[in-house]
Amino acid sequence: MRNAFIDTVTGAFKKRDDLFIVSGDGGLGVFDDFKETHPDRFLNLGVAEQNMASFSAGLSVAGFKVFMYNIIPFLLYRCYEQVRNDICYQELPVVLVGIGSGISYAPQGMTHYSVEDLGITQTLPNLTVLSPIDPVEARIAADYALCADKPVYVRLPKRGEPLIHTSTEFDITKPQVIENGNDVAIIFHGSIADEVIDAGVKLKQDGIRPLLLSVPMIQPLNIEALLDMVDDMKLVVVVEEHFENCGLGNIIKTIYASANPSWSLKTLGLPFSFIHEVKNTKGMREFSGISASDIVRTVKEFLK
C-alpha cells in the first residue's frame, strides 16, 4: 500500500513543479531513487517533528503542495499542536502521510502503534482523513490528495498488503462495496482488510453472505451514502484495527443513536488500554478480539 501511494505521488512530479516531499528521517528504500532524481523537491528534516510540521506549513504558504511523511505517532502525536495550528487552522494543503496504522508495526511496541489516530483527527476541523484497505484505494487516495487544496491525512499500514478491489476507478469519498450480500454488513477500513475478507469466505462456507463495505474516507464521513447502503440489513458490524472507543465504530455509534435505524450494531476494535503484549500483528488481532474468527463469531452469535 505504501509503495502504491508513494509511487503515485512521485509519478506526479513528472507533470507538476509545485510538489514537495518532506520526511522525518524515514523512508529508507522508499525515497532512495526519488531524492537522487529530485534533490530540490525532497528534504529530510530529521528527528525534529515540531519543526517538520511548521516548516511544511511554511513551504505550502510559499506555494508548494507538501507531502509530509513519517510514522504516525511522529507525524500526528508528537507535533499535534503544529498540525492543529499551522496546518489545519490555516487550511494549508499539506498532506500528512502516516505509516504504521493500527498495529501493523507489531511487535515494535506501543510507542510505534497508531491505535488512537482517528480519535485525534476527530479534533481537527478542515482535515480530510483517508484509511485505504488495499493498493488500489491507496493509489486513488494519492490521486485525491494530489488534487486537494486542503489538509489531508492518509493512514497507511506498511507494504505488501493484498489487492482487494477488482475495479480500479471509483469515488473514494464514498463507502465501497467490496462484496454484495444480505442481512449482515461488515464495515471496515485500513489494515484489518485481510481479516474481513477471510471472515467473508468463512461465513459464505456456512451459507451466510455478508455485505462487505470499505470506508476509505473517514472524515468527512459520507453518512447519507453509508446509511443508504446498509438500510435493509439486520446487523452491521464495524471492524477496525483501532481503539474501539474512538474510531469509526464509535463514530457510527453516534450516528446510530440519532438515526435510530432498524438494524443492530456491533463494533469490534482494540480494547482501550496500552498494549504490553509482545505479538506480531496477526497474533495481536487474535489476542484483542478483532481477527477473522472473532468477526465470524460475532455474526453467527447474532444470527443464532
Binding site: 525534529a48 516548516f55 511554511g58 504558504v61 510559499a62
Partner: protein, 261 residues
C-alpha cells in the same frame, strides 16, 4: 530616522488606546517590539507590489496589538478595524488569525510556531529562486521552546539566508526573567554555535536596528538579538513584570499618552 521615531510614537499611542478600549493584557509585550516593527515596516520590508512582498511574522503573537497598530498606520488595514480588537462580535482576536486581517501573514499565538513556519516560507522562496525575504520576531521567553532550536539547527544547514529572526529580548517573560528561569545566556554564542549570523543591538535604537537588518548575512540565516525594555515608552510600565498582564485603566491611559509625547 526622525520620521520613523515619530511613527513609533504613534504606534505606541495606538497600542495604549487599543489596550484601554479592550481591557486586555500584553501591553508591555507589545510596547517592547514597537521600534523593531517601525524600522521593519518603514525602512526594510519590500511591500510593493503586494504579491511579491517580503513576509513579516509576529511569532510572539501575544504582542498582536503592536502588529495591528503598525498595519493600520502603514495603511495596510483600515484603522476602524482596530476598534473591534478583542470585542464581543469584534474584528481582531488577541492572538493572530490570518483570516481576520490583511497583513497577518500567519495565524499564531502558541509560541515556537511562527519562527518555523517562516523558515519553511523562506526555504520555499529560495527554492523557487524568488528573492523575497522573511522576517520573524520571537520573544526571549519563546526562545525556550524546543521547536525554536529544532528550526535553528536545520536553517543554517539548509542555507536559509533570506530569513532574519529578531529576538525581542525584553528580559521579562510571563512569570520572571529568562536568566532566572533557565540557562538563558549566552544567547549570541548559542545562535552562532547553531551556524547563524548573530548581531546584538539596542532594540530601541533605530539606526542600530536598520544597520543590523542591512548587515551582510554571509550566506547564513540571521538573528538580531534586540535588547529591549518591556513597556518601552511609558515610564511607569517599563521593565515591570505586571505589565505583561495589567489592563490599562482611564487613569493609566491618560498618564501613558502624555508620557509618550
Amino acid at each position: 530616522m526622525q520620521n520613523v521615531r515619530d511613527t513609533a510614537k504613534e504606534i505606541r499611542r495606538t497600542v495604549i488606546e487599543m489596550a484601554h478600549h479592550s481591557k486586555g493584557g500584553h501591553v508591555g509585550s507589545a510596547l517592547s517590539c514597537v521600534d523593531i516593527l517601525a524600522v521593519l515596516y518603514w525602512k526594510i520590508l519590500k511591500l510593493d507590489p503586494w504579491q511579491e512582498r517580503d513576509i513579516f511574522i509576529l511569532s510572539k503573537a501575544h504582542a498582536a496589538m503592536a502588529l495591528y497598530s503598525t498595519l493600520a498606520i502603514k495603511g495596510i488595514i483600515d484603522r476602524t478595524i482596530l476598534d473591534g480588537y478583542c470585542q464581543n462580535n469584534g474584528t481582531l482576536p488577541a492572538h493572530l488569525d490570518k483570516l481576520t486581517a490583511k497583513g497577518v501573514e500567519v495565524s499564531a499565538g502558541s509560541l515556537g510556531h511562527g519562527f518555523n513556519i517562516g523558515l519553511g516560507i523562506a526555504y520555499g522562496f529560495k527554492n523557487k529562486k524568488n528573492n523575497r525575504k522573511v522576517y520573524a520576531v520571537i520573544g526571549d521567553g519563546e526562545s525556550q521552546e524546543g521547536s525554536i532550536w529544532e528550526g535553528a539547527l536545520f536553517a543554517s544547514k539548509l542555507g536559509i539566508d533570506n530569513f532574519t529572526a529578531i529576538i525581542d529580548y525584553n528580559n521579562l517573560q510571563g512569570y520572571g526573567r529568562p536568566c532566572e528561569i533557565c540557562s538563558y545566556e549566552p544567547v549570541s554564542e548559542k545562535w552562532k554555535a547553531f551556524g547563524w549570523h548573530a548581531i546584538e543591538v539596542d532594540g530601541h535604537d533605530m539606526g542600530s536596528l536598520a544597520g543590523a537588518f542591512e548587515e551582510d548575512h554571509n550566506g547564513k540565516p540571521k538573528v538580531i538579538i534586540a535588547h529591549t525594555i518591556k513597556g518601552k515608552g511609558v515610564s511607569f510600565m517599563e521593565n515591570q513584570l505586571i505589565w505583561h498582564y495589567y489592563i490599562v485603566t482611564d487613569e493609566h491611559r491618560e498618564k501613558a499618552l502624555s508620557n509618550i509625547e
